[in-house]
Amino acid sequence: MVTMAIAKQTLEDMLRRKILLILLIVAVGMIALGPSVGFLSPRESSVVLKSLGLAVILIAGLLITILAGIQVIPTEIERRTIYTVLSKPVQRFEFVLGKFLGGLATVFVMIAAMGIVFLGVIYWQQHNLPREMVTGVAMTFFQMMLLGAMAIFFSTFATPVVNFFLTFAIFMVGNMSSVTESLTSNKNPATKLLATVLHYILPNFGNFNIQNKLIHPEQTLSNPSVFIFQNIVYAIIYSAILLLLAILVFDRREV
């Protein structure tokens, strides 16, 4: 009850943040204008529309997740609203979980809104609703869930500015898993060590980027259901570990 009350309050508060709403409006506008961009490349208009839509959802989702994730706990401390919450019979783990779930619900609502517009535009253009596009939007959400857990973890000890750059940098490095993997066999021991650490410790965000495989029918996934299921489980387990670490840190934090 307590965790859900905090999550509900966080969702309602986040949905009133102007910056997040502006990001959503811009993203929805860009998705809605997708068909007009398709005229630039008539033969590939379908590919352009899908690529653009998924890319916009990813970028907007990334910014919304980071902005929500880095603010959700520090804002409570800065505004001193945390005093009236933690002085009540609220366990610190309930607070962290509530904040995470509220932030996650915000990201879900935003991605769902963009996704609905995106799928609507595709249906309007092609008169059918490709299942792969729904999968693409869903994978973006799970990718953002993992990123949000990372932002919440850093927010328990880092300032929002430091957190922004840390989370963003990890997202970038985590998206280059193929590069870090190739560097693990580098001859330079320092490079090899660094690449190994980065490759195995940082989350592999690259695995969630299946847009190319979804957009281009010739690039097929050998077993799409298993691949998607594995990635979802990976995101849930990795997020759970990050939340556990966040709870351990926050449990000793003075507010």
Binding site: A5, E12, R80, Y83, V85, S87, P89, V255
Partner: protein, 321 residues
């Protein structure tokens, strides 16, 4: 009567990273607040009042010492369900309505419907918040209305113990008087109130006992009637020579001489007769003898000054700790 709050040697030290110095915010504090009393916790800005309250609520952790709240160790969830807190300059979720914010806090106490709605309504009525404002967002509230919401959220769980940090600070006289009534009513219901305040007149009206802390150390503790005991007398005299004034000054150094008149404030009752004899011996006339009861403000200022502290107007009017 059992102790609602019991503090033994509570200490909080901070490390000033830049100056590599240790700051002692609370220094081996010992204190007991009995159940059912309204207890005043006084001190200058930065004396350690808020730090102490935050330790008692488990928001920060003591460096040394121990304390219990309602007989339970600090941070105990069971104790917290019977405790409430109004922080100094409390901020609430601006976009929520008065009703919704109290509903949210009631949920944190695991209060289910229909009891929750009933309690929200009662808390709003108890703090005299205009029903028209109940469903309006907090961003449109005045400071007085926000403070009422602060008190209402502190009453939502029908607590046994309330920690109120500067509850009347920054309010206009009417709002202050109304909130003072609310706190007084809470006390009449047998609840324990731990009241940290700069408004010494409010404290004097509301509290049974007070403590004065300075630089984290306890300087005074006792019933207000005991602490303010001992009257002061002001003697007005005229027509006396400078030589006589010097003699009186030897007895009472605080003599004020203006326009040939003499004012002898803060004279101890035992010295009054001697001063009158000196005035008469110098052919002067005693025009008035005015007795004064010591106020809590006198006690506060004298206690803090005795400990080497400088008391400013801000200390007596309120401000950030």
């Amino acid at each position: 009567m059992a102790a609602a709050v019991s503090i033994q040697g509570l200490t909080k030290k901070y490390l000033d990273v830049w100056n590599k110095a240790e700051i002692v915010a609370v220094d081996h504090l010992n204190l007991e607040v009995q159940e059912g009393e309204i207890f005043g916790f006084l001190g200058r800005n930065g004396a350690g009042k808020t730090t102490t309250i935050k330790m008692l609520l488990g928001l920060i952790f003591p460096t040394e010492g121990a304390a219990t709240v309602l007989g339970k160790p600090l941070g105990d969830i069971e104790a917290k369900s019977q405790v409430s807190y109004l922080p100094e300059e409390a901020y609430f979720y601006e976009t929520m309505t008065g009703w919704d914010i109290l509903d949210f806090y009631a949920r944190l106490f695991r209060i289910s419907e229909p009891d929750r709605s009933r309690r929200v309504q009662k808390a709003l009525e108890d703090v005299y918040l205009d029903p028209k404002a109940w469903r309006r967002p907090l961003r449109g509230y005045s400071k007085g209305m926000r403070q009422r919401i602060g008190i209402a959220q502190a009453l939502i769980n029908d607590p046994k113990l309330l920690f109120l940090d500067e509850p009347t600070s920054g309010l206009d006289p009417i709002a202050r008087a109304e909130l003072r009534d609310v706190i007084g009513n809470v006390g009449k219901q047998g609840k324990t109130v731990f009241l940290s305040s700069h408004q010494l007149s409010d404290v004097e009206l509301l509290c049974d006992r007070v403590s004065i802390i300075h630089n984290g150390k306890l300087l005074a503790l006792g019933r207000i009637t005991d602490l303010t005991a001992g009257e002061q007398v002001e003697i007005h005299a005229e027509g006396i020579t400078n030589g006589a004034v010097d003699k009186i000054r030897g007895l009472v150094p605080e003599v004020l001489q203006t326009d040939g008149r003499l004012r002898i404030p803060a004279a101890e009752p035992g010295k009054v007769a001697s001063v009158i004899d000196l005035v008469r011996g110098a052919k002067g006339t005693v025009t008035a003898i005015i007795p004064h009861r010591r106020s809590l403000e006198d006690v506060f200022v004298q206690t803090v000054r005795k400990a080497g502290g400088d008391v400013s107007v801000a200390d007596l009017k309120g401000g950030e700790e």
